[in-house]
Amino acid sequence: MVSVGQHENIEILSHSEVEEVAGFVGNFKIKVRRKARYVTEDLCTGCGLCQEKCPAKKILSEFDAGLGTRTAIYLPFAQAIPRIPVIDRDNCRYFEEGKCGICAKLCPRGAVDFEQEDEFVELEVGTILVTTGFDLFDCSRVSQYGYGTYDNVLSSLQLERLLDASGPTRGKIVTRDGREPESIAIVHCVGSRDKNYNRHCSRVCCMYSLKLAHLIKDATNAEVYEFYIDMRTGGKGYEEFYERLQEEGVIFVRGRPAEVVPHDGRLVVKAEDANLGRLLQVPVDMVILSAGLEPRRGAQDVAHVFGLSRSADGFFLERHPKLGPVETASNGVFIAGACQSPKDIPDTVAQAGAAAAAAMVMMDRGRVTLEPSVAQANVRLCSGCGECVVACPYSALQLVEGHVEVDETLCKGCGVCVGHCRSKAITLLHFTDEQLLAEMQGALRVLEVA
């Protein structure tokens, strides 16, 4: 990330969102909202004094998944690039009560600016890569596991935070009341492979659960139980890792737990071991829920802005699963990572590399080849009803001064508009009415003879 930040050809616009994309491949014009962070980027040196002195210290940290706290002026996480803090308006005393302003008074560079407003920048770009990632499933939706009710039911992400040497517990796995757990249950597929929430397999949970079990074994003497439906370990060296965990003494139980209940200050996981055909009640000190990966909230809006389609599960749709895995329905817009489907880091990196390369090939060539079969509008016949504009899957048609115009760079030649037009004002080149009629007549003549 540091080297990306320092690269002369890369400009990072953090705390920003693309709001509009106009134009077409090679000539996109995008409008970016640079949200006010209330700190002037050019002045801030990232010294961190403001964060140290901010009196609002009890805000739950999003990065620590609610296990740690942060201040109102804060850096989202220690390694964030650029190293410039942001003020969280909703929790800042200055914005709440009009008093305080300690950070502004202390900043040696006068970088804090409470008057800052959102700004817009317009960029001209040739190609676009969308890598907006995933959202973690909200475990509290599965109420029978007690996430958010029982202190020691944690999400997998929370355990990741406990394991971080610079995290809220400095790398120690402890219960909320500070005990080292004697036994821990890891529950797979929470929010995945479940028709109540998401039917898809989140693909990374089996492996990260095994990783977590390994790290727990490394850091504590706890007994670890993994409750799984199927163990999915496809990937280089992954099955071997699973075998290693079996040797490390992790207890694997095939069966999705029915519920987690409190008992004597501990927790009991109730499940059926499907292999043994036996009901189990396993007392543990901590339950880790291996939450699934979901499409990001707002994926619909992002799809709309960039002209992407989404598959039934809500993730962005690639142009073709095999032949166009990083391309999309919008020429010049590429996707990579977990926004396309749940995947782990190696797969994300591979796909991102492919997407970047595909974008560079286009830019390097400097021109694009369009399909010859595109729609053509006949201004004189067009009644301006606009039906075709609505029907076009690619927003390639527009009503201009009461009649339709085709943007050939956006048109993919499906001909849906032709099928829709009542005035016969649109022709699809290479599939014109005359051509299809002649073909059809020929076809019938052949059948007649036969």
Binding site: S373, P393, C414, G419, D433, L437, M440, Q441, L447, E448
Partner: protein, 135 residues
């Protein structure tokens, strides 16, 4: 009784390769069907279908990618609506709606293609030739 004449409009991305696969697999299917390739089933306009009947087709098959799989994202969503309406219009005009059928055939469904074509041929065989209906 003359054999039925059937025209099938098949999309380039799923159904046409599906038909191609039926051939590659050497599956026998009704010789009374002739296929016309369009880019997407959404290209098939109501007018084209009507003219196909006018020109003497006893049946018209529209074949597209499975719902949700259209290469052009939502092209076949339009086809569904259009064919449904057109079938009612045909009925209103005294032409059996069974003469027009929309089916999904993916590129890997050579057998399904052959089955649909055979079934459709049988259905059409049971109907009066279109020339007599339109006469």
């Amino acid at each position: 009784m003359p054999e039925p004449k059937i025209v099938a409009y098949a999309c380039t991305y799923c159904s046409y390769p599906g038909a191609d696969l039926a051939g590659t697999l050497r599956i026998q299917y009704s010789p009374h069907v002739n296929i016309i390739r369009v880019l997407c089933s959404g290209r098939v306009s109501p007018e084209l279908i009507l003219r196909t009947f006018r020109e003497g087709a006893d049946g018209v098959l529209v074949l597209g990618c499975h719902y949700g799989d259209c290469h052009f994202v939502s092209g076949n969503h339009r086809t569904v609506k259009r064919v449904a309406v057109l079938r009612r219009i045909l009925e209103y005009a005294g032409i059996e709606p069974e003469r027009l059928r929309l089916e999904w055939v993916s590129a890997s469904e050579g057998e399904r293609f052959a089955r649909i074509v055979d079934e459709f041929t049988e259905t059409i065989r049971g109907l009066t030739p279109i020339e007599q209906v339109l006469a």
